[in-house]
Subunit: 465 residues, 2 copies
């Protein structure tokens, strides 16, 4: 049964890939001000494309940080209004020398499109835009009202998303969020994401002297900031990899039998999962690996440094050491409280003679949960079952999608992740890629889910109370 919208999209497949590669060449790293130009270029690209496909009110929404790109089509009266979410910022590309081809020079090899941001999430963002474009081009209308909201700070924890929503609350009002960020948990099996861990982080510095000291002159007499950093970080986990911070998981909702059953239903080869990335399994033995990464909080040091990092040797006693810490939190946890518990632990374990200071600590984002009977879940199940012939299973995400929590908190609406990237695409690491096959799959699925959602009434999106 031919679908003219999908036919139109598949005929434009190569042109869409070419456009995507143009966007991928723009180094839109939000974490580092050195990439301001790449951020500008990506915004301009998206403003132009939204205008070209017939969006109205195309503009930047400024909340004091990186502005979001907005555009809407609101000519389906009585139908639900969907905020279609994507983001144009990407993770920093380092370490650069670990990339086979440069991060901002997209390259297709073995059916994979390699580039920073290909999988997270410029690829799926383009799919969403092109699906709406095709519906408008072929049918002249869209089955739902659409508001594109393409964020520029997802990779830095959406620091000004609340400010943007506060300032443009009326413009952004919607019945639900359809997100291009995150989605497939398996290449073989259709899955619907019904939740995600939350996240928060902190950065701290230790100081043991007013400056670096000569190890010949002071070696054996004073504290070394790197020894202190090592000793302090070593207290954060026990030997089995359990987080050893007092109160770290005290507000976490205990894992239920139903959750354990859901996890068990998802085929997951623990050994293969870690072997594939050259790692060894490690973590709390009271939980299976998949339970640990989807249902339990965790703590990781993301960066640690101090002293001389250059070529050769330098016999100093470093006076300063730094660490970046991130936590993932689960249902029930206040991400600010969790990070405060970590900070309190660090203070408690920091010896006299060592100065401990923290960078700004943010509120982070809590975990999120989508009810099984929600129209977003039901629409996704129907589309994925039609696409694959198999009944989708419910999964939760180990990664954090702060926007899901923020849209819920600020606008009371739920978010469905409907991106087409896969878990084995190294999204925050070198050689990130997006599978070419996922592009075609996304181009078939997005018009379908917009149509399914158009069958619901706006009222169906409201939570049952």
């Amino acid at each position: 049964m031919s679908d003219p919208v999908v036919d139109h999209l598949l005929a434009r497949h190569d042109a869409i890939v070419t456009d995507l590669m143009t966007l991928l060449r723009m180094p839109s790293v939000s974490a580092d001000p050195a990439f301001a130009r790449g951020m500008d270029d990506a915004r301009r690209f998206l403003l132009d494309r939204l205008t070209a496909i017939g969006m109205e009110n195309v503009r930047l929404l400024d909340g004091g940080g990186q502005p979001a790109v907005y555009g809407d089509w609101l000519h389906a009266p009585g139908r639900p209004t969907l905020l279609v979410y994507g983001h144009y910022d990407v993770q920093p590309p380092d370490p650069l020398d670990a990339w086979t081809t440069p991060p901002f020079e997209p390259a297709i090899r073995d059916g994979k499109l390699f580039a920073r941001g290909a999988s997270d999430v410029k690829g799926s963002t383009m799919i969403a835009i092109e699906a709406v474009a095709a519906l408008l081009a072929v049918e002249g209308c869209c089955p739902v009202n659409v508001k594109f909201f393409l964020e520029g700070e997802e990779e830095t924890g959406s620091p000004s998303l609340r400010a943007i929503i506060g300032r443009y609350r009326d413009l952004l009002r919607a019945d639900g969020v359809l997100s291009a960020d995150g989605g497939r948990a398996s290449r073989e099996l259709p899955t619907v994401n019904t939740g995600a861990r939350g996240a928060n982080g902190l950065e701290f510095t230790l100081r043991t002297a007013s400056g670096d000291l000569h190890s010949g002159r002071y070696g054996g007499a004073v504290r070394n900031a790197l020894h202190e950093m090592a000793a302090l970080i070593a207290t954060l986990h026990d030997r089995d990899g359990r987080v050893a911070v007092a109160g770290f998981d005290s507000d976490a909702v205990p894992v239920t039998d139903r959750q354990r059953a859901d996890v068990a239903a998802f085929p997951f080869d623990e050994a293969a999962f870690v072997e594939e990335v050259g790692a060894a399994p490690h973590g709390d033995p009271a939980y299976s690996m998949r339970e640990r990464i989807t249902l339990r909080p965790c703590l990781d040091i993301n960066g640690m440094w101090g002293g001389y990092l250059g070529a050769g040797s330098k016999t100093i006693i470093p006076a300063e050491a730094h660490a970046k810490v991130s936590v993932r939190v689960v249902a029930g946890q206040d991400p600010r409280r969790v990070v405060d518990a970590v900070a309190a632990h660090l203070r408690r374990h920091c010896p006299a003679g060592v100065e401990l200071t923290f960078g700004r600590i943010g509120d982070g984002s809590p975990a999120s949960t989508l009810a099984p009977e929600h129209p977003l879940v039901r629409a996704a199940e129907a589309v994925l079952e039609a696409e694959t012939g198999r009944r989708p299973i419910h999964v939760r995400l180990g990664a954090s999608v702060p926007i899901t929590a923020i849209f819920k908190e600020t606008m009371g609406i739920d978010t469905l992740m409907f991106g087409f990237n896969l878990p084995d695409e190294p999204v925050h690491a070198p050689n990130e890629f997006f599978r070419m096959e996922s592009i075609a799959m996304g181009l078939r699925a997005w018009p379908a889910i917009l149509r399914r959602l158009g069958e619901f009434a706006p009222a169906d999106f409201r939570p049952v109370t």
Copy 2:
């Protein structure tokens, strides 16, 4: 009693400082290949100066690394031959933003000459050259035979010094070494250095996965290279700061009562020593602080890094972590064995699933000891007593002077450190400076010690057996 040589030197004081500042402007960092140009410039400067003052056989001595600058004056038959040692390489200047004025733009403030290498050791090297220059200019001859040997790899542990000595053994033959590197232990009190700790180092890497991992996807499932690095480094010392490596000090000669008495004779304010640099005292409580830094071995992490070090956050599980380690060793210790003990400790404490690899491990340099009746010691005592009116006391250096050990081992000759820098000049750290008053003091003392040494016969320099 006027001395025409000293008068000549003091009349040239400002010109000598100007020349020294020219040399300090040359960024001769031997540890980092990026500074090759600065190394070249410093060599050319010294070759020109040695030629200008009347040295013969002026040339570079190549041992496969950074060549040494050489020049001799051998027209004092029957008199001792002194190898006059200095070095033209300097420590890396980072962290650059901690310098009040840039490291390679010398600036005089409050009677101090600030620049990387001012104290360690271009200042004292220039004093030695100018003292010989003045003796030749004023008296037409020198009281001893002089061979300048100005090294280019002191700050990287003199990796090719043995090769240079092996290749130029006849050219370098001498009765003793008079070194411009190291000397004064106190500004108030005359001291003669009779020994120094040795040193060695190693660098290692931990790997926990084939690449950095997304902490949302793998957090709680795998090892984190930074957690492993912290845990491993935390095993190297106990809570009191004692080195906890098995066998670390097993070959160290025990501290004798005589050594404890020598240390006690040197006025040393432990609290002031560490307070001055904003540090807290820390280390083996069985020894006084000055015993710890001159008579006991120690171990320091000089650099440690891994993961994301840039601006903002990056939620990765780092796959790789690095550390640079240095040790200081005392009499009786084989510096290679000590580092091997550290490597064995790291291997023993490294858990399964973590790959541990070492960089090249060198032989290091052992501690050195100069006999009290040696002509170099007696000459220094006489000169310093005449200069200060006080009897010099014997001290040992906590820092390492690899060349002292290497000259002893390869040529059987002893080295006296006769530099004029002071312990409070931050030589391996930002804002290194050399006191202006030390320049005048050095310009008076160097002609005097060369004359004193000229009163000995070459045979007096041979060790009593």
